[in-house]
Symmetry: C2
């Protein structure tokens, strides 16, 4: 790549980063930031924006692609966790907690990325919404495949696992955003305590899902007689 191309890529990245920063910080969202703001934050003149993107929608779609890399990296991290769980004979309880902690650690590394995806999933730009929806589907399908590799779920069909992976993905998005906003509500409770409580809560929810899957039967319309 030539010197000129390198510098162009740097400016492009600066614009993407600027858009991400502006749309995640200060409680803003992508639909409320302006082209001029993005250019200013990136250290460029407004008109230079057009050398990289046709309009804010095009930047938005490209931003989803860029940010989705984080999702894929998280998937890898969770995959390792699953592999560990599969190879050792540890209790489900502690490995679940481990996976949940790994999830929140991943979020703390790039909170802006997560805030962007969660907010804009139902946000103002149609183009961005569709791009995120596509990524969510990929993530859900891959998670179902990962779950199937676990010994506990080996007997289950992919179709059944996709039911739980869809719940997990949707729940993850809620968890992520609640986790990120934990420090914003300044009550008397120390942040560390709030975090610990939240992890416990999320872990229990994951365990409950696990119980559901463990006691699942492929035929969904059975009559259940419960005491």
């Amino acid at each position: 790549m030539s010197l000129r191309d390198e510098r162009k890529q740097q400016s492009r990245q600066a614009l993407l980063d600027a858009a991400l920063t502006l749309s995640s910080e200060g409680g803003r969202s992508f639909g409320t930031i302006s082209l001029r703001e993005v250019a200013r934050e990136a250290g460029l003149v407004p008109t230079a924006f057009y050398r990289h993107f046709q309009d804010m929608d095009e930047l938005g779609a490209d931003l989803v692609d860029y940010v989705s890399g984080t999702l894929h990296r998280l998937r890898m991290s969770l995959r390792e966790g699953f592999a560990l769980s599969a190879s050792t004979a540890q209790s489900t309880a502690s490995t679940t907690r481990g996976s949940v902690e790994r999830f929140f650690t991943a979020i703390d590394k790039q909170p802006n990325y997560w805030a962007f995806l969660v907010r804009e999933r139902w946000g103002a730009s149609v183009v961005v919404r569709r791009a995120i929806d596509k990524e969510v589907r990929f993530f859900s399908v891959d998670m179902a495949e990962d779950l199937q590799k676990l010994p506990a779920f080996k007997s289950l069909e992919l179709q059944d696992l996709s039911i739980v992976s869809e719940i997990l993905v949707n729940l993850s998005f809620s968890w992520a955003m609640s986790w990120i906003t934990l420090p914003l509500f300044d009550e008397e409770t120390p942040l560390a305590d709030k975090k610990e409580q939240f992890i416990q809560r999320a872990t229990r929810q994951a365990q409950l899902l696990n119980r559901g899957v463990s006691n699942w039967e492929s035929k969904p319309d059975l009559v259940i007689t419960k005491t």
Copy 2:
């Protein structure tokens, strides 16, 4: 109430309705609509807005209050469903499907209300976000209390039921928005088929949660040896 007060209430309601319409239709969101647009849609001059709200944030907070009435009406509807389930000896499978259908029927009656709450839950306005967060908590607590009235869950503690009710509320929001956006993605599949598939999927997810609760034990840190 005097004639003058009545007319003022009408204008106020027109402003609320206008804001809801503008922020839900056409893929917009609350953060992207302007005070002048709202006034125009309500048939008022921009300056008349200030007779009712200090700014758009105040209107947003009041709009959450107004729209939350729908949530409470839905809760009543679901409560009836639970009462039915408790009194008859019907299978869990069919009553679950019934509750899910009742939920989507409620959404179809006021799709804009749901779109507003789901979108703005993580949206651009801090004031609106906090107001919605408060409503979500109320809804979750009430749902846990409702669940406890079911014979199947009578033995469970409220604390444990709040785990599943929190999942249900978060999942409901995802379901609601996906349901609303079903007609927007114009593929070859007929809408009726897509709806039926979606209901089946949501029902299965609810059943899976039910299995999880049915096989739940209060002590969360048990070692589970799973085949």
